[in-house]
């Protein structure tokens, strides 16, 4: 059963992108374990506001685990110490009375801190803009059922497509690599006949952009997939490698 607990929260505070950051510790009393982790931060912020202090800036939006806006490195794990969820789905029942919880922003060169726990993940958008699409314009496309796609293939594409672009993969990776993110999109579109047509071009363009933006090289440690809130598989990275290497050999 959920109880009320007292906790300490050690939070990274950083006034701006260039400011020097530091940790600050706050005490919170009587937090209900049925509350979500972000609701706990809401409560903390209300407390700070009542003391006329600056509340903690953090990214969040849908609070149901799908928009990918929330981030946070909680007790050494992106999205906290639970499997296959985002921070907004993390509940206080994962923590015990008297615990000190450490909250940090994503730390990666490609994700600079904006303020406190908020980081700039625009790099992921830029990778998508480089090739994460099928080049079709609106209208003038064939009937949706004109190409049959085997269910297992469609399902695998769906699993790859479930990536929410939160950045946990690059944040968790000791090399700051974005390969899981890139491979999820490349896989989804390479699996489907609609995207297969330009699969080679896409793989090359997206990888080139990824490298240009300063993400690291993948060394297959698997931390990304282990921490991915949507359990996107590492097998996608093998497919990206395959697509990319084949494309380069064809050149």
């Amino acid at each position: 059963m959920d109880q009320h607990i007292n906790i300490k929260v050690k939070v990274w505070r950083q006034a701006g992108p260039k400011a020097q950051g530091h940790f600050e510790t706050y005490e919170l009393k009587n937090v209900f374990q049925g509350a979500s982790f972000l609701e706990m931060i809401d409560i903390l912020n209300e407390q700070l506001i009542s003391e006329k202090k600056d509340p903690i800036a953090f990214d969040h939006d849908c609070r149901e685990g799908i928009c990918g806006m929330c981030s946070l490195y909680v007790n050494g794990h992106p999205h906290g110490p639970d499997q296959a969820i985002t921070t907004c789905q993390l509940h206080m029942r994962k923590f015990h009375d008297g615990e000190t919880i450490t909250i940090e922003p994503w730390r990666s060169r490609a994700f600079p801190v904006i303020k406190d726990l908020m980081v700039d993940r625009g790099a992921y958008d830029k990778i998508m803009q480089a090739g994460g699409f099928v080049s079709v314009n609106t209208g003038g496309v064939p009937d949706a059922n004109s190409i049959a796609i085997p269910k297992p293939v469609a399902d695998e594409a769906m699993d790859a497509a479930s990536c929410i672009g939160c950045g946990a993969c690059a944040a968790a990776c000791k090399n700051g690599s974005a390969m899981l993110f890139v491979s999820a999109k490349v896989s989804q579109l390479a699996l489907l006949p609609q995207g297969k047509v330009e699969a080679a071009r896409r793989a090359k363009a997206m990888v080139a952009k990824m490298d240009e933006l300063g993400f690291g090289n993948c060394t297959n440690t698997g931390a990304c997939a282990a921490e991915c809130p949507k359990s996107v598989s590492l097998a996608n990275i093998a497919r990206l490698n395959r697509e990319f290497i084949c494309a380069k050999f064809q050149d």
């Binding site: 209900f32 939006d61 496309v141 085997p150």
Partner: protein, 657 residues
């Protein structure tokens, strides 16, 4: 305008039979040639299904697009959270579906409060949406034969809903986002993330006509106020459900863009039509920040019930027993009992009210007494746990993470929550508001759902507007703007608009009161839920208006916003939005008070049948209630667009037989 009436001509509804209207329109509308498209700029605010698809499509056509969103990426828009699916009249399942049937179901589901021509067009383009999405690589669910799978969805008797696991909204949005990304990469769309529109800039033509010519937006990272020009402004910023504080909307979803349009003379249509979704996870504490929706598809296999005996309900509320302890014969499957034909699949408004009715009668099943059971034990027995897990596994997992209870073993608990707002800014057939050059698409407009929206229709409308309607109709407007050169943002109109925004912010920052923004917002939410929620009365609505006026006073005199205006400041953002929520809340109450009937999402307790069903007053209220801004502090004025049903017979919605 004669007697404040909007005629079909003013709404630009094309002539001809229903099924020919859209074709006729397209055949005769003005187009812009490719060379001129390059000279025209369009601002699109919002990157949800409607905004992203419109921005991408307009850019593909050759217009220069400036696209704004408040999140850190266009992919975060709240369309992403839609779970269940998207409707289309493909009739792939050979169950007798057709464009007409989709049209008819939508009009009927909306309780005959939508415009016939718009709804028919929506049904007509629905098929193109599916084609488009598949071509973009949206991984819809498929059958073993490789063709697309469909399921049935609340309020429909055919299987016309396409879906991608429980993440249809996400996949459709990512499809639109990918199309948008492609155009950003090509430089045809200039993307502004973490920007919030704070006003629309109106500029008069030489002949005195006022037109929307740009926006004032705040860079949420730096706090800087910036000016942007465009030949037309398109707003697709979603609904205003967060007026209730607790809703299924995202934390940043807001109605401020709508209020900015409203203050510039765009009518706010049917604000009282708000949809309450029946299958949400019940509230569990005062600290709660939002309610989580679970897909309506759960009602396909789940059965909704409460105990038959009051003493069982009491025991459940006290936590002495669990749902599974109550024997079959003591369970009241009240939807199946009341609506034998549709059973658990009745439309959302009906299901929500029925749940409220049972809970009001004391049969609620959790500690707050505000929950009913959604039970899968039958489905698990019939289909096996694996099949159920395959269909609903991710939803069950989500439920378990939040509630900490295994839904395979004990029935889920659900309760209705505010989910979608059918009301919105009034638009004509071209999706243009009553302000020239200002367009409104998606949930933000009022157009297609009438008084109630059917499941899987929101995604359809958002994408229809963005991909297939607006990109055509806006040309009819822009064709006359090709000789208008790009204007400088140094014009006095821009300067004045910026100054007004800065003054408003300064005023808010200066209050330095005692209360946080959220504490006032929660208070507003409670009033809305109690008096402007599922069951409304004249007296309650009058109370609401009075209380909202008090909240407004409290807000403007006692809110506390920490930090600076010229830096990243979440509290300031929230305060600006709350200032508008307070106005919207009032407008909802005013509209609900005026509409003396029950229809769809609007239920006035004075107007119901003896067995508690909604009672429409077609004679008096068969119109779109549009509210016109009459200046700060003045009561808005009602403008009516009569809904004369030419092609469809109005019936009482009946889900019993």
């Amino acid at each position: 305008m004669a007697n404040n009436i909007i005629t079909p001509e003013m709404a630009k509804i094309p002539q001809g039979p229903l099924e020919k209207k859209w074709t006729n329109y397209k055949d005769h509308q003005k187009l812009v040639n490719p060379a001129n498209k390059r000279k025209l700029d369009v601002i699109v605010v919002g990157t949800g299904l409607a905004g992203a698809s419109a921005a991408a499509s307009l850019a593909e056509m050759g217009f220069n697009v400036l696209n704004f969103c408040i999140q850190d990426s266009p992919r975060r828009a709240h369309s992403i959270a839609a779970q269940g699916g998207i409707n289309a009249a493909k009739n792939y399942q050979n169950d007798g579906d057709s464009v007409y049937r989709l049209y008819y179901d939508t009009i009927k589901g909306g309780d005959y409060r939508a415009r016939e021509a718009n709804v028919y067009r929506l049904a007509e383009v629905s098929n193109s949406i599916i084609d488009q999405c598949v071509a973009q690589g949206v991984p819809f669910a498929r059958e073993y034969g490789g063709l697309l799978d469909n399921r049935s969805f609340g309020g429909a008797q055919v299987s016309r809903t396409f879906y991608a696991k429980g993440q249809t909204g996400q996949q459709l949005l990512l499809g639109a986002y990918s199309a948008l990304s492609r155009q950003i990469g090509k430089g045809k769309v200039k993307m502004y993330t973490r920007y919030e529109m704070l006003d629309i800039v109106m500029i008069k033509d030489a002949d005195g006509t006022e037109r929307a010519r740009g926006i004032i937006a705040r860079n949420l990272v730096t706090g800087r106020i910036e000016r942007f020009f465009a030949h037309a402004v398109v707003v697709g910023t979603g609904g205003y459900g967060n007026t209730f504080f607790l809703s299924t909307n995202a934390m940043a979803s807001n109605g401020s863009a709508a209020m900015q349009m409203y203050r510039h003379g765009a009518y706010f249509a049917n604000p009282c039509y708000a949809q309450i979704h029946p299958t949400c996870i019940p509230k569990h504490g005062d600290f709660q920040s939002k309610l989580t929706l679970m897909s309506e598809s759960l009602r396909n296999d789940g059965r909704i019930w409460v105990p038959k005996k009051l003493e069982d309900a009491k025991k459940l509320q006290a936590g002495e027993i669990k749902g599974r302890d109550i024997p079959e014969e003591d369970r009241d499957y009240y939807l199946e009992r009341r609506y034998p034909a549709f059973g658990n699949l009745v439309p959302r408004d009906v299901a929500s009210r029925a749940a409220k009715e049972r809970c009001d009668a004391g049969f609620g099943v959790n500690n707050t007494g505000l929950a009913v059971f959604l039970d899968f034990s039958d489905a698990i027995q019939r289909l096996g746990k694996d099949v159920v897990a395959q269909k609903y596994g991710n939803l069950f997992q989500m439920y378990e993470k939040i509630v900490d209870e295994n839904p395979y073993e004990n029935p889920m608990m659900i309760f209705p929550a505010i989910h979608y707002t059918m009301g919105g800014i009034w638009v004509d057939y071209e999706l243009q508001t009553s302000v020239k050059g200002l367009f409104c698409i998606g949930e933000a407009n009022f157009s297609d759902h009438g008084a109630n929206r059917l499941g899987a229709s929101a995604l359809m409308q958002g994408l229809a507007d963005g991909y297939f309607v607006l990109p055509y109709t806006i040309q009819n407007y822009l064709a006359d703007q090709i000789s208008v050169p790009r204007m400088s943002t140094e014009l006095p109109e821009f300067a004045a608009a910026e100054k007004a925004v800065e003054e408003k912010i300064a005023k808010l920052m200066k209050i330095q009161g005692k209360r946080s923004v959220d504490s006032i917002h929660k208070e507003l939410g409670l009033i809305m839920w109690d008096f402007v929620g599922m069951g409304r009365t004249a007296e309650g609505l009058k109370t609401a208006i009075k209380k909202i006026d008090e909240i407004k006073k409290e807000f403007w005199s006692n809110v506390f916003i920490p930090g600076q205006a010229d830096a990243l400041n979440n509290e300031l953002e929230k305060a600006l939005r709350l200032a508008d929520f307070i106005e919207i809340g009032r407008l909802m109450a005013v509209d609900a008070l005026h509409r003396e009937e029950s229809c769809g999402g609007h239920f006035r307790e004075e107007y119901q049948t003896p067995d508690g069903e909604a009672l429409r007053q077609d004679e008096k209220f068969s119109y779109v209630g549009c509210w016109k801004f009459m200046g700060e502090g003045n009561e808005p004025e009602l403008v009516k667009e009569p809904l004369d049903y030419e092609f469809t017979e109005r019936k009482t919605r009946n889900y019993k037989a």
